[in-house]
């Protein structure tokens, strides 16, 4: 039985350097998975392959809702179902907050202006920034920008949300407001794959924690198990380092 997101033998090289060395992973519908691991272990590369921001070779296979993640029509379908939130927000600076949220539904789904507008209002209220809808991203704090980015991704009504260290670029006092939005989201049944260094979030929200090192999945399991008694030495060392500093 394969998962809602299924990854088979995922390999990815940059030149001669192997960033991912054969990853197999199944993620269930509605599951919240946190990916942890040291810098350079391949966490970003892994989730960027899921919507093919990183191309990968034919020997590897990824499917989302049984649609193969290969260039062409099926990739367009996958991208319409998979939202992504980046460390650097990547909001569109020439568009207002509301226009950022409306753009993809209007263009990709052909949603009417009125419907897209209503939906944007609803989403911006949900992430707590409806008052800022007419501002440009540069007028917002980092935490607010990241919440807009989440609303923008949600506007496509994705089945899967990918997060690549969504709070790493934020001032400490703004981390909480973004994590709160993500916690709410986790309760809505959206499948979430979250690369994070926020161990508290992983422990509290994740259904499963995946520890990666050197382009491989070293250990995976429920957060209680991984954090309380990790089996692999590399997991133990990593957790010791991040939890005691």
């Amino acid at each position: 039985m394969s998962g809602y997101v299924s990854i088979r033998n995922l390999r990815k090289s940059f030149g001669t350097f192997e960033a991912l060395r054969g990853i197999d992973l199944d993620i269930g519908r509605g599951e919240v998975v946190c990916v942890i691991g040291p810098s350079g272990s391949g966490k970003s590369t892994l989730i960027r392959c899921i919507n093919r921001l990183e191309p990968f070779s034919d020997e590897s296979e990824i499917r989302v809702d049984d649609i193969p993640v290969i260039p062409g029509r099926s990739l367009a379908k996958v991208r319409a179902e998979v939202g992504m939130v980046f460390q650097a927000f990547n909001l569109f600076p020439h568009l207002t907050v509301r226009e950022n949220v409306m753009l993809a539904p209007r263009r990709v789904r052909g949603t009417s202006r009125a419907d897209a507008y209503r939906q944007a209002e609803m989403l911006l209220a949900r992430v707590g920034i409806r008052e800022q809808a007419d501002k440009y991203p540069s007028g917002l704090s980092g935490g607010q920008q990241q919440r807009v980015a989440i609303a923008r991704a949600l506007a496509m009504e994705p089945q899967v949300m990918l997060f690549d260290e969504p709070t790493s670029a934020l001032d400490p006092e703004m981390v909480g407001e973004v994590l709160d939005v993500m916690k709410d989201l986790a309760g809505t049944g959206v499948t979430m794959i979250v690369v994070t260094h926020e161990m508290g979030f992983a422990r509290q929200v994740a259904d499963r924690v995946i520890f990666m090192d050197s382009g491989e999945v070293i250990e995976a399991g429920p957060p209680d198990e991984i954090f309380a008694n990790p089996k692999e030495a590399r997991t133990q060392n990593f957790l010791k380092a991040v939890l005691h500093h």
């Binding site: 939202g83 980046f86 990547n90 909001l91 569109f92 600076p93 020439h94 753009l103 993809a104």
Partner: protein, 223 residues
């Protein structure tokens, strides 16, 4: 006083003014149409140069480099005097517009490329992740941001195109310069040439000042 009568002879200027205005009209037509055609050609070339298969991309690159290297006057003379040998006979206006457009398109392509490459990779990735097509990404996300950056260099290029329209006088097109030289011959007085110079300045000096202001403004915006 004599000098004044020679170069700024009001009587001659008034008499030849209609000729100069006729020339100016043609100069502006040639300038504006070449600028617009050059913009379109440049955008197309830039897209080919950045996003097409490798072979075509190389061709676009060769085109851009060749037409930025060739002296405009040489190109114009080839278009007007050499092409008839292979049966392509263009009017002076069409020859001048062709040469100006071919060269302006090459410069414009490089300006657009710089504008697009200055956009952070994250903008392309966010667009792709949202499911926007390449075309939508360009039209809705990338180009609107590039435009701000490319306006000063594009204005600069447009100034060059208008200046270069004066070369059309060598293929007997009655543009502003040609009209001025003819008026000078008729009146046996060089004042029309000075008049033409003043008209060029009246159009181009404000444009030059505008570029300086735009550049300062955009630099401030980025800081």
């Amino acid at each position: 006083m004599d000098l004044f009568q020679t170069f700024f002879n009001l009587d001659v200027l008034v008499r030849t003014f209609p000729m100069l205005i006729e020339g100016l009209w043609l100069t502006l037509q040639l300038g504006v149409s070449s600028i617009i055609a050059g913009l379109i050609l440049g955008l197309v070339l830039c897209m080919i140069r950045l996003y097409s298969p490798a072979v075509v991309r190389v061709l676009a690159r060769i085109y851009i480099d060749v037409f930025r290297s060739i002296p405009l006057l040489v190109l114009l003379i080839i278009v007007y005097y050499a092409l008839p040998f292979v049966g392509i006979r263009l009017s002076p206006f069409a020859s001048a517009m062709t040469a100006l457009t071919l060269v302006s398109g090459a410069y414009t392509a490089e300006i657009f490329r710089a504008g697009i490459e200055a956009i952070p990779k994250g903008q392309f990735e966010a667009s792709a992740a949202l499911g926007l097509s390449h075309r939508q990404t360009m039209l809705d996300v990338i180009l609107p941001q590039s435009i701000r950056m490319v306006i000063p260099p594009l204005t600069n290029n447009s100034i060059n195109v208008v200046k270069d329209t004066a070369l059309a006088s060598v293929v007997a097109m009655p543009d502003l310069l040609k009209q001025a030289t003819q008026a000078q011959a008729l009146a046996a007085n060089p004042s029309p040439l000075i008049g033409a110079a003043a008209i060029y300045l009246a159009f181009l000096l404000p444009a030059v000042l505008l570029v300086t202001r735009l550049e300062r403004r955009f630099n401030r915006g980025n800081a």
